[in-house]
Symmetry: C2
Subunit: 567 residues, 2 copies
Amino acid sequence: MRVVVIGAVALGPKAASRCKRLMPDAEVILIDQAPRISYGGCGIPYFVSGEVNRVEDLQTTPYGTVRDAQFFKSHKGVTALVQTRATSIDRAARTVTVEELASGKSSTLSYDKLVLAMGSSPNRPPIPGIELQGISPATNLDEAELIRNAAASGKVNNAVVVGGGFIGLEMAVALGDMWGIPTSVVELTDHILPGFLSPTLARMATRDLADNGVNVYAAEKVLRFEGDKGAVTRVVTDKRELPADLVVMSAGIRPNTELAREAGLTLTERGLIVVDDHLRTSDPDIYAGGDCVTVLNQVTGKPGWFPLGSMANRQGRVIGTNVAGGDAVFPGAVGAWGIKLFAQNAAGAGLTIESAQREGFDAINVHVEQIDRAHFYPEKHLMVLEMVVEKACRRVLGIQGMSSGGDALSARINAVAPLLSRGITVQDVSNLEVLYSPPFASAMDIVNVVGNVAENILEGRLVPMSQEEFEKLWAERGKDEVFFIDARVDRDAASLVQKYPANWHNIPQDQIAQRLDEIPKDKPVVLVCNTGLRSFEAQLGLAAAGRHNTRSVLGGMSSAKRLGVDI
Amino acid sequence: MRVVVIGAVALGPKAASRCKRLMPDAEVILIDQAPRISYGGCGIPYFVSGEVNRVEDLQTTPYGTVRDAQFFKSHKGVTALVQTRATSIDRAARTVTVEELASGKSSTLSYDKLVLAMGSSPNRPPIPGIELQGISPATNLDEAELIRNAAASGKVNNAVVVGGGFIGLEMAVALGDMWGIPTSVVELTDHILPGFLSPTLARMATRDLADNGVNVYAAEKVLRFEGDKGAVTRVVTDKRELPADLVVMSAGIRPNTELAREAGLTLTERGLIVVDDHLRTSDPDIYAGGDCVTVLNQVTGKPGWFPLGSMANRQGRVIGTNVAGGDAVFPGAVGAWGIKLFAQNAAGAGLTIESAQREGFDAINVHVEQIDRAHFYPEKHLMVLEMVVEKACRRVLGIQGMSSGGDALSARINAVAPLLSRGITVQDVSNLEVLYSPPFASAMDIVNVVGNVAENILEGRLVPMSQEEFEKLWAERGKDEVFFIDARVDRDAASLVQKYPANWHNIPQDQIAQRLDEIPKDKPVVLVCNTGLRSFEAQLGLAAAGRHNTRSVLGGMSSAKRLGVDI
């Protein structure tokens, strides 16, 4: 029995090792065109930043052994052929033709089972000047070393990152945080992390970046790169010119599936390899996984794409088991992700409000801000959570959040993520059993509160206003068409009342019933408090008094501050 | 419509407020015998430690307003009668008789719906001397103030905590950590947190306590308290005498259900009020929740008891909804919990191996130790996870863990806890979708690894040895009946080889196949590495060579060190 695995970064080594463990007598061959294999590509930004000391650290085991061909032979019993490119697959003959890159020599390897783990490559859009020196996608270790050395040399005065996705932002943080390089991010769509953050959360993230010297230019297109003596000096967009002696291209990735296409395997229109829930391709002797396949999106029920190192590892194990005759299932994914910015961290799973609407769901986005543990506990952080809910059936479609406490945010996203594929509803989230102890959670934890708020909105008790609507109405306060009430206690509202005596009215929540006379009946009333709880209670009080033309601002002044609402 | 709620600590105020929100026209009356209501009782240890500054902080809202009777009137529209005891319920007349404690005056309150939220009281075992001054259960704010004042005065030279449950340990940490008071914990059963931690994890927790000046005496019974001039000076157990001028009694709690019993409501043998999944008692006009009811244990399918502040809050909301004519369900619980010790934190959900076996499950306990994020990321912690699995069907019954990173531990426990009621299997845990990014998780995260290891054990590939077995065999190494192999690289094993040249053999995992001759065939082989991964691979290597009499030590030297195995 011979198993050939093409691609040796994440999924390939995992599948090969698992397979060999289960079938010690099998010959397992791992092929990769690069000299370095089995590295943590996701760690590149942390190497560039200097948090990871040596590039080898990304290629070593936790106990410090470098995972090279020798390692795979001695530790795993797997033969790794590096600097060797698979050039074609002959499915009828069950052979792979490979080329040794150093010598140019070609040869043929027969296989009983074949595993495709070619991963993905960065897009290289045909922008004029893209061939200039200093422009790099930063997706392999060699490029990472060049960037780190350039940053460390002090010769990079300005950096530009093209693309505000995960890698782009992580690289921007690495350059800005550790090396103090003024860095800009140019993003083609309306906001960073499109498809992962709502516009609100994206704006909060953008502010965290800006506060730390990374400027984001969204809805902006790179027209060309300009240079001097072959090296980049400037990025020209449709709106501005940015000086740059280092450009990181993170304009998306595409699956490396040419081999699979040429071999006649079934691919999607986007070029992803189609696999079943055992990660088997249209050829029963060929398995595939990682960045080059499509798996079920368990939220939409449609084919999804989840190019993530964790998927590659888990899928690699499933493939290894199945190649060895086992019966492991990979049921699909909902897409759980996280990113460390500067002071803030963002994370999420499932659909955002934008992606839910694009998928045709009639959905609402519920926004909550609350302390992440008992409010009396001294070390704590404010956390924002947003939950996307399908209106009619109250099914939860996604959850996203932001906080300076990254692990605490993880604890909430992880509690919901594995349930998204199991059809949970708002009521399930209200009752969700997360661990409780004052140093770790609130007795009514934020993750339960986001369920409670969703329920109150869906049942019409809480009539919400988004921060963006609030901002717009506040900017138009001169029209005097809306009556703003700050429902906080006097001392918290005082400074704004003093600043805006004509427009900002303070009626603490507990005084609403007694001070109805002060509230005009002929204008919509906008209620604000610190996070949205007292403004909701004020709204209920007004409703009980027959006043229904009111809205309660979700996330209150805390979220307004995060967004930089001009107030 | 009048709603009467008896008990105003956690569930009562929540149920009352929710109910009033939904039915603004209803009269809602909250009764409590204590002067202070609606406080965070779980915060008492953090007030005693000084982390929470003033006792009032446990009774205030996040925005600093004290939740007293006035607050409930003005902010919630709820009438709170404090220092008022409910003395009887007349279900036929639908009235509650109450006594004003100050005046001794009795009166009768009629109700349409009644909510029982009397909570629980600390056990007061009939130990001789228990009436001495300085012995306190530390469950209400007055007692908390006395203890804090005593600790702060510098007059407490030695403290003893009776009972190694959550409150007991939190109090021990508070006294030991912040005030530096030499503190002992006396626990009647075999180990601390019985029913929540395995013996292994309990021993790890005990060591963390001991390293910080808190000594645990388990399997030990308090015989009497001795005193001088009416104040406690000594705790006498069946094994020793402990000096003590402060004793915290945390010997369990009992539900306050006398009223319910006298009113003829259905109770369990343990004295817990029986409720349906809408939290309605055997009387359709009476609801109950929190510490005084039994709800479904979703793991065992039997009635469970979960006296936790978070349960009380979530159940309070469900009751409030249902009293107001809604249709909210409380499906039961699996018991998710957490505790901060000194350097370590512990958390879990569901059954431990001991409780699973007591419940009649044929189960195994899987023990894993691993770094809690990408191993190349600079800030990281080792984490221990244990998962309890029913053998035949591979259903997951519980998960527990320990780490210095408390929120990161939360992130793993929370990912599994809500799934325990949904019948997840080992394979689901292997594929569990938790968020991935190097600063927060590993590409093959520890929570997936515990699934993988369980699978390997259940399929017979991994033949495990527990740390306790390893310790025992190592202690008997003089018999020379077992061959110990350290499968780590030379430099990691060198010091032990030097210390124990006759018994500790170093064969790095990758050299196993070539050095079979060094391994005797007539003795069981015990394989150890740093965390258990390489010893497993070594075991597979030996199996491939026909050597099957081997065991791989789960958690390796990392867990041995946590346990203080003498090696």
